[in-house]
């Protein structure tokens, strides 16, 4: 840490004294334990605040998030408890060139996934020539035969996509997971920025950070692009499962930022394959629905008949081309953990390009080689069930007890196709405020790509941080928090 101490006043204690990212890539200091040239200024500003000040401002910020109602709600039998997503006040900063790679890589990936979806719901070239096993797609629980032959506007199935990225020990980005159904978290990107601007105006002063607050406008623009043909001034709505959904705040946020009605299933009705909403002036037409309800619950007539959240007839209206659903039904087959392993090949297949963002090495336990390798190396691997999200069911080999290893071995033997395994990825770390001072904590990054005719990527994205020392599970349900993510306008601020 000799290089760091040269940058500070040796007489004053600073929050970074004793900060040591060890072998991991640090988002602020890189691999050299020294801030890269563009980030020196930010490091010095942080270093000039003492830990007590940082902690006090952090507490103010969290109280404010609570009163602003930027919360998710946990329901017990009796009470509804509002919780904030823990917010870490030390931002994650990316230079323009670092971001450029991510932006291009995400755009490339979304383009390939949309082409893959078109193909599997039409001619199935990629399945017929064996590039991707047909059973993996056609036998997948998220494959929707109802979508066969359906032509979405501009060939776009995944309008809103979140790509989970991690950085290895050298700082290279890898894709950990695609989220092409209804990725959440973008509201925190924008609200975290607002919070930082209120709580740390001094930290941002003079820096040119790319804005994120135009997300709503951009999203609305893209949704208008995919409105049914011939509709000139489309009526767009956001369809939410309602106030009891844990992501309800995000639904409010998105509707508010787009300036469109936030509807629930009971507000909509389908007549003659056209969708309408119930207003004080009677029924009003609906042309585009950004839906935050899963396929299963979207339309009791087409899918789960028990669903009371959806709207009967929505699929009919969609297939008749009278309403656009974003995202389209049936995208879950493209962000599946088993299909994920094939995405690099999918990119090369359709685009004839090398993937800009590589996958994390993945072993498919449904294939004999993958299963054998996984069983032989359980202590070294991370085993993930393919059907789960939110970090549930993941077994981290190097940190698991003998009992946990044996338990997952049995599950693998019983249902191998339900699992994939990956080597331990060395997630990068970011300086994070802890009660004991600033310490390295592991982070990932979820950029959001919005696609109508073309793709736009929100600069930065959601940085999730595992607040527990040593933990690499960043999910909010398992002790994760978030950070503001700054993409600098240039490489040297």
């Amino acid at each position: 840490m000799g290089t760091l101490s040269a940058l500070k006043d040796p007489k004053l204690a600073g929050p970074f004294d004793g900060y040591d990212p060890k072998p991991f890539f640090c988002e602020l200091l890189g691999t050299s334990a020294q801030p890269s040239k563009p980030l020196v200024g930010i490091w010095q500003r942080l270093q000039s605040l003492d830990v007590t000040t940082l902690l006090r401002r952090a507490a103010d910020a969290e109280r404010e998030l609570f009163n602003l109602g930027i919360t998710f709600t946990v329901y017990s039998d009796k009470d509804a408890i509002d919780r904030i997503l823990p917010f870490d006040v030390i931002p994650r900063v990316m230079t323009a060139s670092e971001w450029g790679v991510v932006e291009q890589g995400v755009t490339q990936r979304v383009r390939a996934l949309n082409m893959f979806l078109w193909d599997i719901y039409h001619d199935r070239h990629i399945l017929n020539d064996g590039t991707v096993p047909a059973a993996l797609v056609l036998g997948n629980g998220n494959y929707r035969p109802e979508m066969v032959g359906f032509d979405p506007r501009h060939g776009t199935y995944i309008h809103i996509n979140g790509t989970d990225l991690v950085r290895d020990g050298k700082g290279a980005f890898h894709v950990l997971e695609d989220n092409g159904r209804a990725p959440s978290g973008v509201s925190y990107v924008v609200e975290n920025r607002h919070m930082m601007q209120r709580a740390f105006p001094d930290l941002m002063q003079g820096l040119r950070v790319r804005p994120v607050s135009d997300y709503g406008e951009r999203l609305l623009g893209k949704l208008i692009e995919v409105a049914p043909l011939g509709v000139t001034e489309p009526s767009v709505v956001l369809l939410s499962p309602g106030v009891y959904n844990s992501a309800y705040f995000e639904h409010i946020f998105l509707a508010r930022e787009m300036g469109v009605p936030l509807v629930e299933g009971r507000d909509l009705v389908v007549k003659n394959d056209h969708v309408f909403m119930r207003t004080v002036a009677g029924l009003a037409p609906v042309d585009v629905i950004y839906r935050r309800i899963n396929d299963d619950f979207l339309d009791p007539e087409a899918f789960n008949p028990e669903s009371r959240l959806g709207v009967a007839g929505l699929m009919r209206a969609s297939k008749a081309g009278h309403v656009t659903l974003a995202n389209a039904v049936g995208t879950g087959v493209a962000d599946d953990k088993a299909v994920y392993a094939y995405v690099p090949r999918i990119i090369e297949y359709y685009l004839k390009e090398k993937p800009i963002l590589p996958n994390v090495e993945t072993h498919i336990c449904g294939e004999p080689d993958g299963l054998a390798y996984t069983l032989d190396n359980l202590e070294k691997l991370v085993v993930k069930p393919v059907g789960e999200s939110g970090g549930y069911g993941i077994v981290v080999g190097p940190k698991a007890s003998r009992t946990e290893i044996e338990a997952v071995r049995e599950k693998l033997a019983a249902d191998p196709a339900n699992f994939i395994s990956q080597p331990m990825v060395d997630l990068s770390v970011c300086p994070t405020l802890t009660p004991g001072g600033v310490a390295p904590r592991h982070v990932d990054l979820r950029p959001y790509a919005v696609t109508g005719k073309h793709t736009w990527v929100l600069p930065g994205g959601l940085t999730r941080v595992a607040l527990k020392e040593g933990s690499i599970i960043v999910n909010s349900s398992q002790g994760g928090g978030t950070k503001d993510t700054w993409v600098l306008e240039e490489d040297a601020p």
Binding site: N67, G69, V243, I252, R278, V280
Partner: protein, 337 residues
């Protein structure tokens, strides 16, 4: 702009619950700080009669002790008649409206609700009750003030105002009815004519004390007080003032926003206005006050039902068994779909 029927109903009830909580808090505040002079006023059992909650109260408590009544109306979060429930329900409506209402309305209500949740049990003790209810009343005023300053004046704001005015008229009518019944009982029992304290309590409960003093410098008598709270068009909590506002709002809905379904409600407002004029001119207003209030309560309930059918997409309700006037809550009016 598009206004969902559900959101219109939520705006209506957001205002109603806030106004209801404010009225209840004001009445309790006034009676705990000004009511001490008269030994008869120490009990709180009359609140149960004020809001026609006899049956609901009996389900929860054996005796109408002060402690039980205050708990029932202030801190019992599960009781739809309590202040805490009203604020919770107002916040739930506001939460569903967050994409529509100004951020400051939501933030004020959310922090107010959080502050209320954090109050300890001793804040509701007799010694602190007036202060606590004063704080709650101001929290409600703040919400109405933020709405007045920031809520966009479209159809949505009109439904907010309808809720506010209907609830306010309901509260004033109940207060008049109950207080005059108390007076009649006391006189029948041989007690003398009510004193200044009695009238001051009523007027303060309706936030009308100063205005009344200025308007009627010669002092209070039953007919003057009744007329003031019923028919004075400048008194913001009088029935006439509320009826005027409801009528203006309904006309706006019909004329500016082309909502012709407002017609039926407007007809009802015509007859409500005529009824008020007749009552105000009646030489025996005090003698007929209970009948007038009964009629008013029925009109307000019918109006709410009509608004539900015309704008909120609610089914006509099942005919209710005859009996005492019910206190309306959102759950009662929401149809099961």
């Amino acid at each position: 702009m598009t206004l969902l029927s559900r959101n219109a109903e939520q705006l209506f009830w957001l205002a109603r619950y806030i106004e209801r909580a404010a009225s209840l808090a004001r009445i309790i505040e006034i009676h705990s700080s000004h009511g001490r002079a008269n030994a008869d006023d120490l009990g709180w059992a009359w609140l149960v009669a004020l809001y026609s909650n006899q049956a609901e109260f009996a389900e929860r408590h054996a005796d109408q002790t002060s402690r039980n009544v205050i708990r029932f109306y202030v801190s019992d979060a599960d009781n739809p008649a309590s202040i805490r429930f009203c604020i919770k329900a107002a916040r739930e409506n506001a939460r569903a409206l967050r994409a529509i209402i100004p951020m400051d309305m939501w933030t004020q209500l959310n922090s107010f609700h959080n502050r209320l949740l954090a109050l300890g049990g001793d804040e509701f003790d007799v010694v602190r009750l007036a202060r606590t209810c004063g704080v709650i009343k101001v929290g409600c005023y703040e919400q109405l003030g933020v709405a007045e300053s920031t809520l966009y004046r479209d159809e949505g704001e009109r439904f907010f105002k309808l809720g506010l005015m209907i609830e306010r008229a309901d509260q004033t009518s109940r207060l008049l009815d109950l207080k005059f019944a108390q007076l009649a009982t006391a006189q029948a029992g041989g007690a003398g004519i009510a004193d200044t304290t009695f009238w001051a309590l009523i007027l303060r409960s309706a936030a009308a004390y100063q205005a009344f003093r200025r308007h009627e410098p010669r002092g209070a008598d039953p007919a003057r007080v009744a007329r003031f709270l019923l028919a004075n068009a400048s008194q913001p909590r009088s029935i006439a003032y509320c009826a005027d506002n409801i009528q203006t709002v309904l006309e706006d809905l019909r004329r500016i926003y082309g909502l012709r379904q407002a017609r039926r409600a407007l007809e009802r407002l015509d007859s409500l206005g005529n009824g008020l004029l007749t009552a105000a001119d009646d030489h025996d207003l005090v003698g007929r006050l209970h009948a007038v209030n009964d009629w008013l309560q029925q009109q307000l309930i019918a109006l709410t039902t009509e608004l539900g059918e015309a704008f909120f997409g609610l089914e006509p309700p099942m005919p209710e068994p005859a009996g005492q006037t019910q206190r309306q809550t959102q759950t009662q009016t929401q149809s099961l779909s």
